[in-house]
Structure formats: structure tokens, C-alpha cells
């Protein structure tokens, strides 16, 4: 579904503190699969995530998306292929908004507003009508068992509950792929286990999952269909679990 061809990302190019985060990486991410990017911090996993998720553009190389999975705002059909490296920012954002759902390491929730509003936020600029978005959000909160916190402020929730809110938010626009960066970093083992169960649910719904993690609970989970190991910006091992 996603094809990465010799992609590189260099920061501060040409200056003394030039840093190559991703170095000529080539791989394929399958549709409907759970793919784990494994490696220590600094290995370039997060950067690769941002490249795949249309958050940043590679310095060189190409990234192709085969089949967005649904009608996109930019007029692409569900089965079209597009090379995202050459798209202008607006269209890139359009794809990112509708095709990908992000779960950040530090949750990135907005303090001071309610859980419900946090979940609905990604849908605001798309122009969907509010009652519909609200309904979807409440449904998601219900699915993750936190609907009783709908009106609560983020600060009042525990780590695990915040994680669920972050997941619900990632799903509000019904994305084709969920991308998570170190999702278990702030969770204990029990919660981490529960987290991986939730992801099993996504797979069942036909969504693709991409997780970057150096937590064994994640990369050793039976759930994973493919594990790509990275070090120093390069792939050192890509294997599909038998």
C-alpha cells in the first residue's frame, strides 16, 4: 500500500550540524497489516513515520501511496496511486487529514477543553457538519469506554484514559491508516497490553497500523504482521512474522 523508494531525510543540510535522520530507506507497508518500526531512539523511526504520514517531505527519494482507501478531498479515487513527494502542501495536508490518524508519544491533547472537543478537533476545518461529527465522536468514546468523561477536561484524566482519547481523536476522520509513535511510553505493562488489544480491533476493521516503538511488548506482540528494524537511519532487518 505504501511504497518507500530510497527515501532520505537530512536536517540542516549544508551546515556544520547536518544530520541524516533517514538514509536511503526502501520498504513496503502492506495494506490492512500491523507494521512495527523497531529500533532505539535516534534510529530514525519517528522521522520515517513523519515521511510516511505526509507530515514532512523527504530530502530525496520517492514515496508512493497505492489506494488511499477512500474518496479523498483532492478528487482521488479510492484505488488511485499518488506520489506524495511531489504534491504541494495543501494537497498533502488534504491527504494527511483524511487518510491518516496520528497518535503521538506525548498525546498532544489540548488542555482546558473537554474530551469531546479534543476528539472532534481534527474534523473542524474539513467542514463536516457539527452534529454529525459530534455523533461520531461520542460513538468513538463509547467504543473505548470513556464516554462518561465526554465533558471532563483533559487534565482530570489518567494516563491510560488520555491515551484512549488520543486514539479516539486519531479515528475521528475515519482514516485508512493509524500511525502511532511510541504509544506505550507512558503506560505500564497492563495498560500496554490493553493498548495492543485495541489495535487488534482496528485491524479487524480493515485499517492499516504503523507503530514506531522500542518497547518489546509492542514489537514482540503476536499482533504484528511485519517488523522493520532500524538503526542509524537505515533498515537493518525487515521481517514478516511467520
Amino acid at each position: 500500500m505504501i511504497e518507500i523508494i530510497e527515501a532520505s531525510k537530512t536536517f540542516n543540510a549544508g551546515r556544520t550540524n547536518q544530520f541524516i535522520a533517514v538514509d536511503k530507506v526502501s520498504c513496503k507497508i502492506g495494506r490492512g497489516e500491523v507494521t512495527i518500526l523497531k529500533g532505539p531512539s535516534g534510529s530514525g523511526k519517528t522521522t520515517l513515520l513523519t515521511l510516511i504520514g505526509c507530515m514532512a517531505r523527504p530530502t530525496s527519494g520517492r514515496i508512493l501511496l497505492h489506494g488511499i482507501g477512500k474518496e479523498c478531498l483532492i478528487g482521488l479515487g479510492a484505488e488511485d496511486s499518488v506520489e506524495i513527494t511531489s504534491l504541494p502542501e495543501r494537497l498533502l495536508t488534504g491527504i494527511r487529514r483524511s487518510a491518516f490518524g496520528f497518535i503521538f508519544q506525548h498525546f498532544n491533547l489540548i488542555h482546558g477543553i473537554s474530551v469531546l472537543e479534543n476528539v472532534m478537533l481534527p474534523a473542524y476545518p474539513i467542514g463536516d457538519c457539527m452534529p454529525e461529527v459530534r455523533r461520531r465522536a461520542l460513538e468513538l468514546l463509547e467504543t473505548f469506554g470513556i464516554s462518561r468523561h465526554a465533558a471532563a477536561r483533559i487534565e482530570q484524566l489518567s494516563g491510560g484514559e488520555m491515551q484512549r482519547v488520543a486514539i479516539a481523536r486519531a479515528l475521528i476522520n475515519d482514516p485508512v491508516m493509524i500511525i502511532a509513535d511510541e504509544p506505550t511510553a507512558h503506560l505500564d505493562s497492563k495498560l500496554s497490553g490493553e493498548f495492543m488489544e485495541l489495535f487488534a480491533g482496528f485491524k479487524a476493521l480493515g485499517k492499516s497500523v504503523l507503530i514506531a516503538s522500542h518497547d518489546p511488548i509492542v514489537y514482540d506482540a503476536p499482533l504484528a504482521d511485519a517488523v522493520i528494524e532500524m538503526r542509524d537511519g537505515r533498515i537493518i532487518g525487515a521481517g514478516t512474522r511467520p
Binding site: 507530515m55 472537543e117 478537533l121 467542514g127
Partner: protein, 378 residues
């Protein structure tokens, strides 16, 4: 189309919820903003209305007033001058004016005494203005004692209280008979305070004034146009105290908008980063910030202007009383005819809503242009 409309509405929703999040700070910002608009709009309404009133009312003032100066100070003018002036071609009538001041030690108020032959009060009776009635607590039938030139009290009966509607010209007025005037002030016979001249053809008034000045080198003619211009200048928002107040108000507004403009708090910057990371574009974030600015400024502007209108036209600009009263004891109750100058209000709108909205957007511009992946790293 409807998608675009929904987008605006959704972002507006979030803008308001953002403002409500820091309720205390934003409410006080709104209050200050409204107050500044209120002040400026009140001044604009007040001065415009007074200006118009003055122009209308003083239309009927004398065409020429002739004063006599002795050693650079006003001195009663000989009534004989009137005959010579009346002989000038173009002059239709010359009427001696008898007027002066009386200071009431008890209340500290200054009253203006006017004696005229038209509809005079009865002997030893006076008409008093409603301001006099208010200060001295007098009504028809009461008595007012005025000290004459020899220090002896002269008692007058209040025959009539002038209508409250005439406060603007007659609040402090006491109308007295001419002979009572002469007796009270021991006024030199054959003299008047000054002369009021009526001219047949208004165009000739300058020429006639010049002729009078030539005839009598010790007089000073004052034209009606000069009288009107004096009042124009008093209420001109471009001059005097008004410009100082306006300047202070605009300056405080600039300081206040500047404070907003020069800093986005770390929390706000973080929030913008989060919004970008969850799929908001730079344009969406800027729309959010401009809505935040517009919500405050539009609310403040229309509330301030409406309150100012009510203050000036329904409550006689009572808040300006202390400033305008100064050391005077008597302050007229203004009943002004409403005047709305759309040009000045438009300028006020552009000078407040414009800069404030810009001051809200500009600091966010940089933060809004941040790359969405920055949020992944933090």
C-alpha cells in the same frame, strides 16, 4: 459552499471556546476595549451634537455685537454710539444690551443677569433659569436676594422659571427689568454693556463692522460668524482638551493591542503546534486567530458605541460632568438632539477593530507556519 460555511462555523466555535478558556483575562480585555470605545464614541457624539446645537441655536444671535474697550478692558458703551451706528447704511436696528454677572457667595455659583425690554418681568421681579432654580432651590413665588452696588440686599420675587428645555442658553440666567438692572448695579446712566446690531443684508456685515471700527476707534465689533466659529472650535474634536483625551484613549489602546501583539505564550504556541499536527493547515490556524480577534473587537465596538449613545443622548453625558464642570457650580442638563456621524464612527471602527485583529493574527503567523512534524519531536 456549505462545506466552506461549516468550516467557518466550526472554527468560530473553537475560537470562542479558546477565548472562554481564559475567561478572566479575555473578559477584562473585552471590558477595557469596550471602555475605550465607549469613551471615544461618547466624546464624538457629545461634541458633534453640541456643535450642531450651537450652530442651530446661535443662528438667531445678533449679527454684530459692539463692545467698548478702555485700557484694554471692557467698559460700558455710551448709548449715543447707537444713534451714529444706526445711521450707517445697511443697519436695520441697534439695541443696547444690558447684562452682567452676579456671584452668589453662599453657593459659589456665578449667575448671568440680563435686562431686556422684550417681555420684561414686573417691577422687582425676575425670571430665573432652571439651573438657578435648581442651585438656589427656588420656585415661582419665592424670593431671591441680590446684593446691590452699595452692599445692601435687594429682594426680587421669582415671577417665572424659564423652561428646562432652554438650559443650554439660560441655565444660569436671571432676567430683570432694565430699570432694576440700573438700580442694582448702580449702572452709569446713558451707558449699556454693549450694543446688538441688526444688519439688513448679511453679506454687508463685514463692511459695516469695518465702518463701525473706523467711526469709533475704542470699540471692538464681533460678528455672528465669529461667535459661531468660537463654538465650532470649542467642540472641534481636533482641538483643546478633547484631543488630549482622545490621544490618551488611542494611546492606551495601542499599548493594549501591542501587548497582545508582541507575544504568544508558550502554551499558545504549543497549542498551535498541536493543531497543525492533527491536520489543521496554516490557513485554518490563522482563521482561528482572526476569529478570536474579531469576536472581541466586534463585541467591544458595538457595545461601546451603543452604550456611548445611551450615555450622551439618554443620560445627558453625565459622566463628563466632572470634567466639563471644572470649578463651576452650575452645570446645565444637556438635552441634545442625537447626531450620528457615520464617517467618524467608521474611522473609529477601522482604528480599533483593524489594528486589534491584526495584533491577534501577526504573532500567530510565525507559530502557524511551523512544520507539523515539529509536534512529533517535542
Amino acid at each position: 459552499m456549505s462545506r466552506r460555511f461549516e468550516r467557518y462555523r466550526n472554527i468560530l466555535d473553537f475560537a470562542i471556546s479558546s477565548l472562554l478558556r481564559r475567561k478572566g483575562k479575555n473578559l477584562s480585555l473585552l471590558a477595557v476595549y469596550t471602555l475605550i470605545v465607549f469613551l471615544i464614541a461618547s466624546i464624538v457624539f457629545f461634541t458633534q451634537a453640541l456643535k450642531r446645537e450651537a450652530t442651530l441655536v446661535l443662528e438667531d444671535a445678533p449679527d454684530l455685537v459692539v463692545q467698548r474697550m478702555v485700557a484694554g478692558r471692557n467698559d460700558p458703551i455710551p448709548v449715543t454710539y447707537a444713534e451714529k451706528i444706526a445711521a450707517i447704511r445697511g443697519v436695520s436696528a441697534v439695541t443696547p444690551r444690558f447684562w452682567g454677572y452676579d456671584y452668589d457667595a453662599l453657593t459659589g455659583a456665578n449667575f448671568t443677569l440680563v435686562a431686556a425690554d422684550s417681555e420684561p418681568p414686573a417691577k422687582e421681579s425676575i425670571y430665573i433659569g432652571s439651573g438657578v432654580a435648581r442651585i438656589m432651590r427656588l420656585a415661582r413665588g419665592d424670593y431671591l436676594s441680590l446684593r446691590d452696588a452699595r452692599g445692601a440686599p435687594d429682594v426680587f420675587s421669582v415671577q417665572k422659571v424659564l423652561p428646562v428645555n432652554s438650559e443650554l442658553v439660560a441655565a444660569d440666567l436671571i432676567q430683570i427689568r432694565v430699570d432694576d438692572f440700573h438700580k442694582l448695579f448702580d449702572f452709569p446712566p446713558g451707558r449699556a454693556t454693549d450694543l446688538a446690531v441688526s444688519v439688513r443684508n448679511k453679506v454687508e456685515v463685514q463692511t459695516i463692522a469695518a465702518k463701525i471700527a473706523q467711526l469709533f476707534p475704542d470699540v471692538r465689533p464681533i460678528l455672528k460668524s465669529e461667535i459661531l466659529r468660537t463654538y465650532d472650535a470649542v467642540f472641534d474634536w481636533r482641538g483643546g482638551m478633547v484631543i488630549v483625551v482622545l490621544f490618551v484613549a488611542v494611546l492606551s489602546f495601542i499599548i493594549f493591542a501591542w501587548d497582545k501583539a508582541t507575544g504568544l505564550s508558550a502554551e499558545e504556541r504549543k497549542e498551535i503546534g498541536i493543531l497543525k499536527s492533527i491536520g489543521w493547515e496554516t490557513g485554518d490556524v490563522l482563521l482561528l486567530k482572526s476569529f478570536e480577534g474579531m469576536v472581541t473587537s466586534l463585541t467591544a465596538f458595538f457595545t461601546g458605541v451603543s452604550l456611548a449613545y445611551a450615555h450622551v443622548f439618554f443620560f445627558s453625558a453625565s459622566l463628563f460632568e466632572h470634567a466639563l464642570k471644572g470649578w463651576g457650580v452650575l452645570y446645565p442638563q444637556f438635552r441634545l438632539t442625537p447626531v450620528v456621524d457615520p464617517y467618524l464612527l467608521g474611522v473609529l471602527f477601522l482604528l480599533t477593530v483593524g489594528p486589534y485583529t491584526v495584533a491577534t493574527i501577526v504573532p500567530s503567523w510565525l507559530a502557524a507556519s511551523v512544520d507539523p512534524d515539529a509536534a512529533m519531536r517535542s
